[in-house]
Amino acid sequence: MPPYPPRILILHAPGVNRDGDLARAFELAGGQPEIVPLSALRRGEADWRHYAMLALPGGFSYGDALGAGRLWALDLQTWFAEALNDYVQTGKPVIGICNGFQALVKAGVLSAGAGATLTFNASGHFECRWVTLTPAAENPSPWLTGLGAILCPVAHGEGRFLVTQQGTEGDPVLAPAASAQVALRYARPDGTPAEGAYPFNPNASLADIAGVTNARGNVLGMMPHPEDHIYFYQHPAWTRQQDAPGGLGLPLFVNGVHFASQV
């Protein structure tokens, strides 16, 4: 644990609601999170330069009007462009979870090397269920260092990761540049790839993609909620096991705090 816990800026916009869950996860991981409304930043009551990490939590910013994350992305692009640019370009850690991921994608920060989007689940409805995630071994992002499988819930209606169609016919395929940026994939409970099968891949994301990084690896976006599995009792089957179940989401946040304290 770093001697001075890095300060983490958890950005709050209208309709954000997993800010508290995320703050608790970072706290537990040794960070010093602060939930700061965008309005307070705009009024100069807080300064984004004083933080070692930027985190965009889940929720329904602006009610997901015009598509999930779209209007929050507009905030990022118009009011927060300099700050976001500073984080992304200087290699400071940035994480967006669920609605935060959607905002980063719609703002063009995470594009998987092509045109990417997060759109409506193939099931056509919101889905709250637990999933198994496996980290992409080929992605060297500090967020993923030494990470094992994560069990955690998804809770979204627009989590299907798609990219601009490559080629003329059939399903879109992932360009090689995009493949390298895949961070987390949906898997079956035994860790084998979901291969698109519902409900293991809960939204029919392309190539089981649950999370991606930027090319540099400092920005991570993901749909599932590791911040909602930081205690054993949050796991849905904890009463079945005499020993605490594994697969907690906490190591991801520990990685993030470690990363932040080194930048």
Partner: protein
């Protein structure tokens, strides 16, 4: 005319169209067709013409998804009304909201467009819609029918074949004065006619009292004054039936009628139970917007459950949506942070034949889809986990669906400011006021008919959860900084109720010209009465207003200062210099003549408490194979697949039940998370240590039809027992009552309500479970065009909140390991009244004495639940599940399928009649799984001094072999593979 632009956005993804296509058979259309759904956006120029380039830029940067969507922009051509449809467009239907209906997407889009530089002089307004393009074997008539009964809700939407002409809300001419209503010269008929014409829902005595008041003032009332009185005196706001003086005539005793007087149902039964129990941990019961109990030294918990039935019947999404929003604001009204939601929904059967629906009624499948989506939308967007509930089907709910929405809040101990002081400012925070939701309180007190949807269209509200989320953030911070003296929500009756309630002891002066409006042109009485959502009223000392304003600015919440609490005992409302309302608070709150009602319990009604105790004592010979035989397995599967018993995953999975990270026991449990949990257990992240709380409920309308008293005791028992099943402390349970009944002016309806209240009292006192809050929704009747009344079965929901001393000891219902023993715990008293097994297989139970038996209040249950609780705290219990609909066989099967483990039970010791042993329903019982090494300790823990017989009986063991076996007197009655149970329960 300056141009209006039309933007069409089409998606390459088929899900939405597939969803609509899947529903076509429910409106009788079965031919194969293709469908494309296109989103429509309309942009109206300001004083300067809008350009196509500007709209194109909006489409590119804000609206159209580059990966999955494509768009076109063009100038919208106005067409002559009713004509001008091009031939090739005939197979397209376009749908848009009626003007004035809240359109959150259009609102956000307009705001975003302003930020991108499109000011009001260029872009005046935005509207949205959808275009449905059908291709294939379909003609105009069929299309019209599909549009009419599937695509459009006429209450809030309109449609056109071909292209629709957008409508924008424009300011209507300003009216700033009140209108005087001639009242003082009216006779009795005239008063009633006025009440009816204005939909005041006031009876003659009430109208006469109002007439007397204005005669004494020597003037006629204004429209706003009359509406204020109607709202304040409505059933919805003052619960006049529950406070009425009732002459109750009981005809059950042979040959004689006994009439007694009940001086207020609420005081006699509900409040009386709470007072008799006198639990020291009850912080507030019945007086505040929500009930409050102690959690620990630091925190209190609050709980409130509301109904939103009538609005959900005519606009299911908006009705349920604002139902959630309303109950969340109730919790804000006790200055608590909302932390979890519950929902209990009652519908007609979703396979109901369309042709048999009463005129003017939406199909139950549509109501269900809309209501679930409405609960999902509001709860998920507020970031509140929806963790407990039920869905119940009954033909009586076809025209009258029930939507019970509950919210739990948490706040610092004993910190609930609720006294406005003279000199305080009247501060409104949150949403703006529009014409939406006018007269909701009186609307909810009316019997509905085929015209209700049309007439009450204005009563429908569409929620805006993101605004409410901001209000939540503001209230929590304002409370922590002690910035207000009182707070209440704008619910039914709008400002008139909220301000009226807060000023009861002081008086108030309000200027309606200072209320921010969604659009200009509202008459003063409309501003005063509007039920626009997401508003709270606070009493704030003038020096604290700037600090509150700063918090509101931070969370994007609008604040307006509309007046002052005065101290002169007058409710005084002006619009600028125009006088709108001047009523004495004394008359407004104390002038209502007390309602006097007649209730009757007919000779044929059940004895309730006097019914045969102890269930059916079987004198007959063992009946196994002969009566039931191989049918037992089929009946078990049919029960598991019955809509009332089968998995509710279709709703649970669209609710976020994980947000806030507190959900220790989730609504679905077990190996594959598909078993029906008995109760939710939560431990808020803010709480240190291991204490948490459980949420559960009980509802049983089928039993209520047969025996309202028995229903009441049964649902109280079930709400307590479900909480006990997950390990909550059965002596720390608080309960809420929600009565949904028919028209109380009909004596037999009121009689059954009185019986249910009596049951509430007896059961609450029995369990030491105080009522902390309650609500009634009466007049749940629908008058068909044929004059036939469609009433709901009297439906009592009991919701429970119970302290869980150590969530690490929480227990779930899924079987855990082979070799463990399964016990039946409790006094098993078989009853069949209202049971599901009898409905499905009446022949199996013909002649059974249990047919006449209702489940009773189990005498030893409080001690048994406490003993079981101690065993759970000692770690002796691996699983527990309550016996409810479908009896023991269903409970055991659910445990088995949830744990994906086999079970082998012998039920011979229960009863001579196999049908009863398997399927009879009972109160007070649970199945409990215990490891072999703990059986001795468990037996010891469940030994009660006072019990004549053991209250825990071993029935058999858990097996690795995936088979479910029930034996009876040497025969195997049920032998089913686990997969069959799973398939039946999950409909997979």
């Amino acid at each position: 005319m300056l141009p209006v632009f039309r933007l069409e956005v089409a998606s390459s993804l088929p899900m939405r169209a597939q969803g609509v296509l899947a529903q076509l058979p429910t409106v009788g259309f079965t031919r194969p067709v293709q469908l494309e759904i296109v989103d429509l956006y309309f942009f109206e120029s300001g004083d300067q013409p809008l350009t196509e380039e500007a709209v194109d830029a909006l489409a590119q940067s804000l609206i159209c998804d580059r990966v999955t969507e494509r768009y076109t922009v063009r100038r919208d051509e106005r067409k002559e009304a009713g004509g001008g449809v091009k031939a090739e467009e005939i197979m397209a239907v376009e749908v848009a909201l009626r003007p004035g209906v809240t359109d959150n997407v259009a609102g956000e889009l307009l705001r975003a467009a302003r930020r991108l530089g499109l000011e009001a002089d260029r872009l005046n307004a935005v509207a949205t819609g959808q275009r449905y393009v059908f291709r294939g074997d379909i003609e105009r008539d069929a299309l019209q029918k599909i549009a009419h009964s599937l695509l459009v809700n006429h209450t809030i939407q309109r449609y056109a074949l071909g292209e629709i002409t957008p409508e924008f809300v424009h300011a209507s001419p300003e009216t700033t004065a009140a209108e005087a209503i001639p009242l003082n010269a009216l006779d009795a008929d005239g008063l009633l006619a006025l009440s009816k014409a204005r939909r005041l829902s006031l009876d003659l005595a009430e109208m006469s009292a109002i007439q007397g008041y204005f005669r004494s003032l020597g003037r006629e009332p204004s429209d706003a004054e009359l509406e204020t009185l109607a709202q304040t005196w409505s059933e919805h706001c003052v619960h006049k039936t529950f406070k009425a003086l009732i002459d109750l005539t009981d005809r059950r005793a042979a040959g004689q009628a006994v009439t007694t007087q009940v001086d207020s149902l609420i005081n006699t039964y509900l409040r009386a139970a709470t007072e008799r129990i006198a639990a020291p941990w009850v912080r507030s019961a019945f007086v505040d917007n929500a009930g409050v109990i102690a959690f620990d030294e630091q925190f209190d918990l609050s709980f409130k459950v509301e109904t939103h039935n009538h609005p959900s019947a005519i606009e299911p999404f908006g009705g349920a949506n604002t139902g959630v929003g309303g109950v969340v604001r109730d919790v804000l009204g006790v200055s608590h942070r909302p932390i979890a939601n519950t929902d209990v929904l009652c519908f007609g059967f979703p396979d109901q034949n369309l042709a048999d629906l009463p005129a003017g009624v939406l199909h139950p499948a549509r109501i269900r889809a809309g209501v679930i989506a409405g609960v999902e939308d509001y709860g998920n967007k507020l970031g509140l986990p929806t963790v407990n509930g039920a869905i119940y089907y009954h033909n009586g709910y076809t025209a009258n669906p029930l939507v019970y929405c509950g919210t739990v809040g948490m706040g610092p101990r004993d910190r609930r400011p609720n006294t406005a002081l003279p000199g305080d400012r009247v501060i409104v925070i949150g949403g703006r006021t529009g014409r939406d939701g006018l007269r909701g309180a009186t609307f909810s007190s009316l019997t509905m008919d085929a015209q209700t949807g049309e007439v009450a269209g204005a009563s429908v509200q569409i929620g805006d959860p993101i605004t409410e989320k901001g209000v939540i953030e503001v209230v929590e911070r304002a409370r922590d900084q002690s910035l207000y003296h009182a707070i209440t929500d704008c619910g039914a009756g709008g400002l008139s109720s909220a301000v009226g309630e807060m000023s009861e002891k002081t008086g108030v002066r309000v200027d309606l010209a200072r209320v921010p409006l969604k659009y200009a042109g509202l008459a003063p009485w409309e501003i005063w009465l509007s039920e626009a959502q997401e508003r709270m009223v606070l009493a704030v000392a003038p020096e604290n207003v700037p600090a509150l304003q700063h918090i509101c600015d931070t969370y994007w919440v609008e604040l307006s200062d509309i007046g002052e609490f005065t101290g002169d005992g007058q409710l005084h409302v002006v619009y600028g210099t125009n006088e709108i309302v001047r009523l004495s608070e004394e008359f407004l709150h104390g002038g209502r003549p007390r309602l006097r009602l007649k209730a009757e319990i007919s000779a044929g009604a059940r004895r309730g408490a006097g019914a045969r105790r102890g269930g059916a004592t079987g004198e007959s010979q063992p009946q196994g194979d002969s009566a039931l035989g191989p049918g037992a397995a089929d009946l078990l599967l049919a029960l598991l697949a019955h809509p009332n018993l089968a998995s509710k995953a279709y709703a649970i999975r669209v609710y976020d039940h994980e947000v806030r990270g507190a959900t220790v026991v989730k609504p679905l449990v077990g190996v594959q998370a598909d078993g029906p949990g008995d109760a939710a257990v939560l431990k808020p992240l803010d709480v240190s240590g291991w204490q948490g709380f459980a949420l559960a409920n009980g509802i049983n309308p089928y039993l209520g039809e047969a025996d309202p008293y028995a229903m009441a005791v049964s649902v109280v028992d079930e709400a307590v027992r479900n909480a006990a099943a997950v390990g909550a402390d059965p002596s720390r349970v608080a309960i809420l009552d929600n009565f949904c009944w028919g028209d109380p002016r009909r004596p037999e309806i009121l009689g059954s309500l009185a019986q249910a209240c009596q049951g509430c009292y007896d059961a609450a006192v029995h369990y030491g479970a105080p009522f902390i809050s309650g609500k009634d929704s009466l007049n749940n009747e629908y008058l068909g065009t044929d004059g036939k009344r469609h009433a709901i079965p009297g439906s009592l929901l009991i919701s429970s909140i119970a302290i869980h001393p150590d969530v690490r000891r929480a227990v779930t219902m899924d079987l855990k390991a082979a070799g463990n023993w399964l016990y039946l715990v409790g006094e098993w008293q078989p009853a069949l009244a209202g049971s599901h097994a009898v409905q499905l297989a009446p022949a199996c139970f013909a002649g059974s004495p249990a047919l006449d038996c209702s489940p009773q209040l189990p005498q030893l249950a409080p001690q048994i639940y406490r003993a079981l609780h101690r065993a759970m705290q000692a770690g002796l219990v691996r699983a527990a599940h309550d016996l409810s609909e479908g009896g023991l066989a269903v409970a055991a099967a659910e445990m088995s399928l949830a744990g994906r483990l086999g079970l082998e039970l012998d039920l011979s010791a229960l009863h001579e009649d196999a049908c009863l042993a398997l399927f009879a329903e009972t109160n007070g019982c649970l199945l409990v799984e215990v490891e072999p090494q703990h059986t001795a300790a468990f037996d010891q823990a469940l030994r009660l001094e006072s019990a004549p017989a053991p209250v825990a009986m071993r029935l058999g063991q858990v097996t690795e072999h995936p088979e479910f076996r029930l034996a009876f007197h040497g025969q195997t009655l049920v032998q089913l593979p686990l997969a069959a149970l799973v398939a039946a329960f999950t409909h997979s």
